[in-house]
């Protein structure tokens, strides 16, 4: 980006503004928002004198000189409205006039673009779409002559507005309804309304009976400069509503002077019904700006030479998304289902929504792509979901089984389906970005599909080729179908819904080269502004600004990045200016969230300062949108700027008070390893015993992992029992361990006498309960239970045998050691 200063820019900007708004062209009495009535007549005048005139001819003049466009008025005959850049008698004369209304370096800033975008005789229902189409034509002209490749942005000094001394438009339209609208709804409604007759309908629709339409359209026409503090002589006098009557004598209803005075009264009443925002007077602040006060920074440097359909989604309302490629016929998209216009240009597509062109207008894709045998699909998208399949973003197809091409999504992959001589009619097998690369992210991405017979299909994401080999390479696309329709966000059969944000789509009749893809990626999407926050008063530096690049990021926020200290006075070389802690304010308040420049701590030095200014930070941040881009007013505050300081000190937080919890048992159970260790200790069997260790590993995760009683379950107990049995088996099979557990070495028939039973149960109880512990059950309760158990077992077993004795002893052991007497801790 190159930035140049304009000395004395304020005057120039004011001049441009006056020119743009003064109705210097044809009276805006009626819109030409009707279908073309005629085509361009054959040209019989002199040949273009230069290559630039020829580029003008091919790319711009031919498109605008028709009777259905600018040629209706700005011609050489009747009414010969000046500047007559659309005259058809002499291309060289038309060229000379056109140069007064175009800006080849910044096509979007051309007077003709701003004029038409503002509602001046657009041939479509949406002036913004006409502006975009004009921008495309001017860009093509500029690119053909090389003028567009050296784009220089000319910084324009914004008007000086003090923070808190300007009013903010309220979100509600009530105040407008009670003041200015009382006049507009009465005297302007026959033209500036969607309900006006086709012959007189004229945007903007600030007089529309629907206030939700009228109020946003009226806001740009009202200027509250001079209203805080209130001055009856200045408040609202910059308003377009006032100036249009007073200066332009535009359709006055009585006497223009008195009509203008009435309008001014209403504007001032509107202003006085609002409460001015105020900020802390101790803050170190810049002057204030709205987005519209910024210098437009976008609109150039795209490669669009072969664009045959383009969607920029700037309309913002209604059910049509215009094809702004300027290539007829326009393949305008009709919106249906869950689709919302997104802020900062785009459409947010929900489940089931789609945008679809007619098959007849879509046929231009077929015609132009068949002629070249190659094409590209370019889109800026932000997928809302990353776990989907059968989800189509851009498709030129006839249903879910037949297509020419489709850009789709499968989870975090982009899919490219295309019919060719090497594919089936449904365009499969599809080319897909590698799954492991997860190239598709739920963020705004630039994705381009290209096809040509030599290289086959290619997928670029954010300017980088995914380099997926195409097995269809070498085929032809002569088997495409011209009866298909272009559709976004779905399949034409509405069963391949895609959800997310689409900010831009273009179809090219050539395969973009890698460099062209990268060029378009770097050009970005959406409108960006250089916002110059005046800090001359604070720093004492002539025409000093902190400049941000700003855009509306989506429907909910603005993107601010690359703050740069710059003076528009080329003689200035600022030095030793400390800059600390920048905060971005909006509408008199300082948002808590998104303040990325609080840690900033730097000093402007003459060594670091260049003609491009001195960059303060390279990072960007998003700041929440409030009223909207038309009305949100921004300013900056500083912890320190130059010699002025106001360091923000955050309050010390107070720890939350202790919150008592519910009463719970203060005893619990041994967990898995503790159970294992305890059983090992009770039995004397080492945990490394093969049989025991095998069982432990098998039941480890069945044993309690949570020591609380509340977490104990029956399955835990089963695991404990299994492990206890294994340990006791080991004891029974290891005579040396038996005395410690059973009181003596087991002998056959020991359970056949009460004394024998008593000796074993007593030993087991003592072992598991410990000695002298009041918290454990009485030994007798344990021995009683075990005695009963042994008696029952011996009824069914041969307790006289060694095997029977061992089995019953193991059971008694496991019962004792697997009980809560062991488990509770």
């Amino acid at each position: 980006m190159n930035i140049t200063r304009i000395t004395g820019l304020l005057a120039l900007a004011a001049g441009l503004g006056l020119s743009a708004c003064s109705g210097g062209g044809a009276p805006t009495t009626a819109t030409a928002a009707t279908a073309p009535t005629s085509q361009v007549d054959a040209y019989t005048g002199p040949a273009p004198a230069t290559a630039d005139v020829q580029a003008f001819d091919i790319n711009f003049w031919t498109n605008i000189r028709g009777q259905n466009r600018c040629g209706q008025c700005h011609n050489s005959t009747t009414p010969a409205q000046m500047p007559n850049f659309a005259r058809s008698d002499d291309v060289n004369l038309a060229y000379a006039q056109a140069n007064t209304v175009v800006n080849l370096a910044q096509p979007a800033s051309s007077l003709i673009v701003t004029k038409v975008s503002g509602g001046h005789n657009c041939w479509l229902a949406d002036p913004q779409a006409c502006g975009s189409i004009l921008t495309t034509w001017i860009s093509n002209w500029a690119n053909a002559t090389g003028a567009g490749s050296a784009t220089q942005v000319q910084l324009v000094a914004p008007p000086i507005q003090t923070v808190g001394q300007s009013l903010n438009f309220p979100a509600s339209y009530t105040e407008y309804q009670n003041t200015v609208y009382t006049l507009t709804s009465k005297y302007c409604v026959r033209c500036h309304s969607t309900t006006a007759s086709a012959a007189t309908e004229q945007s903007p629709y600030f007089a529309d009976p629907t206030l939700a339409i009228a109020y946003p359209a009226a806001i740009p026409k009202i200027d509250f400069t001079g209203c805080v503090p209130f001055s009856a002589t200045t408040c609202g006098t910059n308003s377009r509503f006032y100036q249009r009557l007073l200066t332009d004598n535009h359709n006055c209803w009585d006497n223009c002077a008195s009509d203008a005075a009435q309008m001014l009264v209403q504007i001032q009443a509107f202003a006085q019904s609002l409460t001015p925002s105020s900020i802390d007077p101790s803050l170190v602040v810049s002057k204030a700006l709205t987005l519209a006060n910024g210098t437009v920074a976008s609109g150039a440097n795209r490669y669009d030479a072969d664009t045959i359909a383009k969607y920029e989604f700037q309309t913002g309302s209604g059910y049509t998304a215009y094809d702004t490629s300027g290539v007829d016929p326009s393949a305008d998209l009709t919106i249906s289902g869950s689709v919302l216009w997104a802020g900062g240009w785009g459409v947010q597509i929900g489940a089931g929504g789609k945008l679809q062109a007619s098959t007849s207008s879509s046929a231009k894709l077929f015609n132009m792509i068949e002629a070249t045998g190659e094409f590209s699909v370019e889109a800026w998208v932000a997928p809302a979901l990353v776990a989907v399949d059968n989800s189509y973003m851009v498709s030129y197809s006839g249903g879910d089984t037949t297509r020419n091409f489709t850009l789709g999504q499968t989870n975090q992959n982009y899919d490219f389906m295309m019919r060719s001589s090497n594919s089936v009619l449904n365009g499969t097998p599809q080319l897909q970005t590698p799954t492991a690369a997860t190239l598709l992210q739920a963020s705004l991405q630039h994705v381009v599909l290209t096809y040509d017979p030599v290289n086959g299909r290619q997928i670029y994401v954010n300017g980088v080729n995914a380099n997926v080999p195409d097995p269809q390479k070498g085929g032809t696309i002569s088997n495409w179908d011209n009866t298909f329709a272009l559709v976004l966000g779905n399949e034409v059969s509405s069963d391949r819904s895609w959800q997310g944000l689409i900010k831009f789509v273009a179809i090219h009749s050539r395969a973009l080269s890698a460099a062209q893809v990268l060029q378009n990626y770097n050009a970005g999407v959406g409108e960006r502004y250089y916002m110059l926050f005046n800090v001359a008063d604070v720093t004492g530096v002539s025409q000093a600004y902190v400049m941000f690049t700003v855009s509306q990021y989506d429907s909910y926020s603005y993107l601010f990045y690359q703050p740069t200290f710059i003076s528009l006075d080329p003689t200035v070389k600022p030095n030793s200016i400390p800059v600390k802690g920048i905060r971005i304010g909006i509408n008199g308040t300082i948002p808590q969230v998104g303040q990325a420049y609080i840690p900033l701590n730097t000093t402007i030095t003459s060594a670091g300062y260049t003609a491009q200014g001195e960059v303060l930070s390279t990072v960007g941040t998003v700041i929440g949108l409030q009223s909207g881009p038309l009305t949100d007013q921004f300013f900056l505050t500083f912890d320190q700027l130059g010699s002025h300081t106001n360091v923000v000190v955050e309050p010390t937080p107070t720890p939350p008070p202790f919150a008592p919890g519910p009463t719970v048992a203060d005893i619990g159970v041994r967990t898995f390893a503790e159970v294992n260790a305890t059983l090992s200790q009770l039995t004397g069997v080492p945990t490394s015993n093969t049989a025991v260790n095998g069982t432990y590993l098998a039941v480890q995760q069945q044993l309690p992992a949570d020591p609380t009683l509340e977490g104990f379950s029956s399955s835990n107990q089963i695991g404990v029992a299994q492990l206890a049995i294994q340990y006791c088996n080991a004891v029974v099979n290891t005579p040396s361990l038996q005395p410690a557990v059973f009181g003596s070495t087991l002998s056959a028939g020991v359970f056949q006498s009460p004394s024998g039973v008593s000796a074993v149960t007593t030993a087991l109880a003592n072992r598991v309960l410990g000695t002298g512990l009041q918290s454990q059950p009485a030994a007798s309760t344990v021995t009683s239970e075990l005695t009963t158990l042994i008696g029952q077992l011996c009824t069914d077993n041969a307790c006289g045998s060694t095997a029977g004795t061992n089995a019953v002893a193991a059971a008694a052991c496991a019962t004792a050691f697997g009980s809560a007497d062991m488990l509770i801790k």
């Binding site: 944000l501 998104g594 990072v619 941040t621 203060d666 041994r670 503790e674 104990f712 309760t781």
Partner: protein
């Protein structure tokens, strides 16, 4: 499937059919309500209290009457310290305390590794626990254990110790990571740079996991508890989209809350990666990877998906900054010095010097020993007391174990 739960009474009945057990629970609950002042610790524990202390510390009953007698002959805290000599305290209690810290699933059922062993060794040797995230330290098996030699490329040494039930209280010896792994001493950072810590939290991803799990495991604050959307987002990396699916509100109300604090601190790990052979062992199931440290060179993982928000922060070095020293997270209690630095070691010092770190260790020990979270004002006061004592005892983790066991030993 969730396990069916029993209440305390049911559990006791179900296990020993002992009616006295039911009464015991009631008594115990009542006991929990009794407020034990400091004076209660002055009296020697009786046999029941000593047994409970031992059970809570080591997970097993006192091994013999001699040990029990020794415990009843001294004050409760000293009695509890006796219990910390039981091998089960290290092989079970400490090992299972630390095991969930070493994996993302927070499972206790994972093999022993150098992270866990280092925690065990630090407790055993009274190594100041507030060096957990910064020390050039690792505990390895001694030669008598028969374990294979330490390798930074596998976990075989610790698997051997695990499978052979080796007594960790006897067979762990202190060493330095710089000596056994080859990582520069200045790049070592306690358990973060052990193989266990690296394999769990430096593997794949963006290294944010190491920070998030540290907050969870060692400051007892998962990200949703510390998220603060008012911190400056200037250090949030480029891979974090500011408009998920085209809705920046999601970023401004959620993502920013964690990333604005986490990303500037996780930058300290910019030179670390856990590398494994993605071709022969795509998921590192063979456990053959090892920690890689590239001094002065930021790992590529810090730049993946950098087109998600090109205006985001581009990581160029391992400098870190603690943005939570102001704002709501000031209550985490940061030390007087620090706040920024380079590399993991200094970040480790920053975190382990915080009041939250000490509080987290003590509170977790309390819960481990008392089998409940602090839930009364008396418990809260006890925690405060234990934190002070933990710090006064040079961050020896055995001390809060002993004091918690004494506090929860039950009524006389």
């Amino acid at each position: 499937m969730a396990k069916p739960k029993m209440n305390g009474t049911q559990a006791v009945r179900g296990t020993n059919r002992c009616k006295r057990g039911t009464r015991r629970v009631a008594v115990a609950v009542a006991g929990a309500l009794a407020l034990l002042g400091a004076s209660a610790f002055a009296a020697n524990p009786d046999a029941d209290q000593a047994t409970r202390i031992y059970n809570r510390i080591a997970g097993v009953p006192p091994p013999n009457s001699t040990v029990l007698s020794n415990m009843t002959a001294t004050d409760p805290v000293s009695a509890a310290l006796i219990a910390t000599n039981d091998p089960a305290f290290y092989n079970n209690t400490i090992r299972n305390l630390a095991a969930p810290w070493t994996n993302r699933a927070q499972s206790v059922f994972v093999p022993l590794n150098d992270y866990t062993a280092t925690v065990v060794g630090m407790v055993r040797d009274n190594v100041p626990f507030n060096t957990l995230l910064s020390a050039d330290l690792v505990y390895i098996a001694d030669s008598a254990s028969g374990a294979p030699a330490y390798s930074p490329a596998n976990n075989n040494m610790y698997v051997f110790l695990d499978q052979n039930n080796v007594d960790l209280s006897k067979h762990l010896v202190s060493s330095t990571q710089s000596a056994v792994t080859g990582i520069p001493a200045a790049a070592t950072a306690g358990v973060w740079t052990t193989r266990g810590g690296a394999s769990a939290f430096f593997v794949n991803g963006t290294n944010r996991a190491q920070f998030r799990f540290t907050m969870l495991n060692h400051l007892c604050n998962d990200m949703q508890l510390v998220m603060d959307i008012t911190r400056p987002p200037d250090r949030i990396r480029q891979d974090v989209t500011r408009s998920p699916g085209g809705v920046s509100t999601l970023f401004l109300t959620n993502c920013i809350g964690c990333h604005s604090g986490m990303d500037p601190m996780a930058q300290a790990f910019a030179y670390y990666n856990f590398s494994y052979n993605a071709v022969t062992d795509p998921m590192d199931t063979n456990g053959s990877g090892q920690l890689v440290y590239t001094a002065g060179q930021v790992q590529p993982k810090y730049h993946i998906n950098n087109t998600n928000f090109p205006q985001g922060f581009n990581t160029l070095d391992d400098s870190w900054s603690n943005r939570w020293r102001t704002g709501p997270n000031e209550i985490l209690g940061w030390s007087a010095t620090g706040g920024s630095g380079n590399g993991a070691k200094s970040l480790g010092v920053e975190l382990e010097s915080s009041a939250a770190f000490a509080s987290c260790q003590v509170t977790r020990v309390f819960k481990d020993v008392c089998l409940r979270a602090p839930n009364t004002t008396a418990d809260s006061a006890q925690i405060t007391s234990m934190i002070a004592s933990f710090q006064a005892h040079n961050y020896s983790l055995r001390q809060p174990f002993a004091e918690a066991a004494a506090y929860c030993m039950g009524p006389l």
